[in-house]
Homo-oligomer: 245 residues x 2
Amino acid sequence: MQAIAIIAASGVGKRMKLPSGKTKQYLKLGVYPVIYYALSAFQQASSVEAIFVATLPSHIAYLQKMARRYGFHKVKFVIEGGKERQDSIFNCVEKIREVYGDDGALQDKVILIHDGVRPFIQPNEIDEIAELSKSFGACVPATKPKDTIKYIDGDDNRFFGETLDRSKLLQVQTPQGFRADLIMSAHQKAQSDSFYATDDAALTEAYFPEQKIKIFEMGYHNIKITTPEDMDLGKAILKRLRQSK
Amino acid sequence: MQAIAIIAASGVGKRMKLPSGKTKQYLKLGVYPVIYYALSAFQQASSVEAIFVATLPSHIAYLQKMARRYGFHKVKFVIEGGKERQDSIFNCVEKIREVYGDDGALQDKVILIHDGVRPFIQPNEIDEIAELSKSFGACVPATKPKDTIKYIDGDDNRFFGETLDRSKLLQVQTPQGFRADLIMSAHQKAQSDSFYATDDAALTEAYFPEQKIKIFEMGYHNIKITTPEDMDLGKAILKRLRQSK
């Protein structure tokens, strides 16, 4: 079973309070930049045959060089991202269509879409999600929320509304896996409708509501690096993962 | 304006994978145990006049000693917690009623209920929440969720249901503040109904639905320590808070 990975690495990281021009994917986490770890994991995952990366124009050459330097030969294309994350994924989807063609080469393939700022995904987790995406059509990793979640009442952010039943909720992560035809079609429809969803799973929900999405229960290590505190946590997780190997 | 604090420190921390007898409140975070930091913050908060702590019977003497040693003279009572967190809070509520009596000494008071495993709450944040609880009747700190939140479909944890609109959601934290009569009455009703809610705010929602709960937007530092990764993050936050002082 062969999976194609898309890695979104175009975010500028407003919450990270970085000097202009700096982006969170390229901050150093231990020895390597944040983005290195996800690329390395997808390179090692045996289910993955090719990696497409969307990033800022100013970082394309840098990423291509990184891929060569560390032997990430599965990184086939590093292309320019779009305005929003979803536009970046769409650009990769279009590139995949161009490369593989429309004559059945994508049949039986799975596409895995990952945030470049989630460095701690492990190769075996990628393989499991690829396998489940193939079997069920769609599979998304998630963890149970640690805190109680409440609605905001009205639009002015002043008061709380209803409390949600936490036992019924999951916080979703990436990589999100889908049958290639399903997610490519969803992205194409969304682009022509100018419809933006919160993530790729929500896109398929919107256009293919009959497609059930399998839950893959993930550990708390697969964090998204968005704030300065996350960089600290990231360093600690990195250390812990190394010790457990 | 005077506030009474309740600190819940009876949890055994199943997710922390500790040896039996060890509890997460007493793990060392830097120089001091986790619980020290919250006690210190409530001691320093000028709005707080008294602190009631509920803990395991085996830790009562230890906490009393800690309070004496570090001059936490606002810690008036360290009592035995109950089966669930809510039972522990109820025990403190009953103790407050016993100490203050029913003849109006609690009028105009606010009760702040805090998790002993949230060490990074700051004295000025406690004072602001106390003030807002007084003005609005109830005030609860919260942060925006970083991840997309989805419902679980059905009861077997296999597939996702609907995606929630993240811009309408908040993850709630503690200290949660309430007018004393309101929260004491809610806890008493819940105890006699054997009704358990996910947190104190949800208790007041259940018994006093007309009471609006004010949102206090909190930073990401006010984490709850529940997993080994949280201890690592905690050490990093501690360092960051010290540097910023």
